[in-house]
């Protein structure tokens, strides 16, 4: 089994200069936890997850000086930050013919939940741990009895 057999395609991407709030909207609307980040030419430059939003916004200097951890006021950096400020870059990625066993070893060793699949630098799809669940449901990935 290779990445192409398992990946979701197409997948929503987000521009690196988009406001972070747009990433939050994408997560909620798409019911997803992470998305590949692309530049103006649609080339993959990173990945952004809910975790990046959570830990990337709460630790900023605005919260120093005794401000509460969960103060979500008008000065909160989440309103001014861009996706590129919190994303992980470069993204760990693979090509469509990557072996699923290799992908899983990569995902497990790095404890990452999703790997963008690229074709000539552009996002062709994505493989996530949830796609493995889907494959088991569909019977395309067999678990031993």
């Amino acid at each position: 089994m290779i990445a192409r057999d398992l990946m979701q395609s197409p997948v929503p991407t987000i521009k690196e200069d988009a406001p972070l709030t747009e990433a939050c909207d994408l997560f909620v609307e798409g019911r997803i936890n992470g998305a590949p980040v692309v530049d103006v030419n649609d080339r993959l430059v990173g990945i952004v997850t809910q975790q990046d939003v959570l830990f990337g916004t709460l630790g900023r200097p605005i919260h120093e000086g005794g401000a509460p951890l969960l103060d979500f006021g008008p000065l909160d950096p989440i309103w001014t930050l861009r996706v590129r400020d919190v994303m992980t870059s470069p993204a760990v990625c693979a090509t469509e013919d990557a072996d699923v066993g290799e992908l899983c070893r990569l995902m497990w060793s790095l404890r990452i939940h999703r790997i963008p699949i690229v074709r000539e630098g552009r996002v062709a799809g994505m493989v996530s741990s949830m796609d493995l669940c889907h494959a088991v449901c569909e019977g395309t990935l067999a678990v031993p009895v």
Binding site: P68, W108, C133
Partner: protein, 133 residues
């Protein structure tokens, strides 16, 4: 393959009356994105994830001055939790996770959490060769 063959043990749990700030510490230390929530008797009452922290505890504070009362896990958790037992088939757990778009299912015995199966456990099983892709 049954839940007991795939689940992670022991499961890290959080009390429903713990503060969300403590929850964040526990999730970071344990390197997990979600935890089963238990009551004072150790029985499962719900599940809480980073998503709940992000959308459940951060949305209201801007509307008024922060209060002295900490946000508690029980205020943001999903309850009841979707659970399975140790002898539930892995295929059935995958079906639950996929259809409900949830990433983890606590495994319970007599109301107490004995382990947790997450989508990442499938990744681990393939990485370790227990499941052949």
């Amino acid at each position: 393959m049954l839940a007991r063959d795939l689940m992670c043990t022991p499961a890290v749990v959080i009390r429903q009356d713990d503060a969300v700030t403590h929850l964040c510490d526990v999730m970071q230390e344990a390197h997990v994105n979600g935890l089963p929530v238990v009551d004072e008797n150790g029985e499962i009452v719900g599940i809480v994830t980073e998503e709940d922290v992000l959308y459940g505890s951060m949305g209201e504070a801007g509307a008024s001055a922060p209060t002295a009362e900490p946000v508690l896990v029980r205020d943001i958790m999903t309850s009841p939790a979707v659970c399975a037992t140790e002898d539930t088939e892995v295929v059935e757990i995958c079906r639950m996770m996929w259809t409900m778009r949830i990433h983890r299912v606590p495994i319970v015995r007599d109301g107490h959490v004995t382990g947790i199966v997450s989508a990442m456990d499938l990744v681990r099983a393939i990485a370790e060769g227990t499941i052949e892709p």
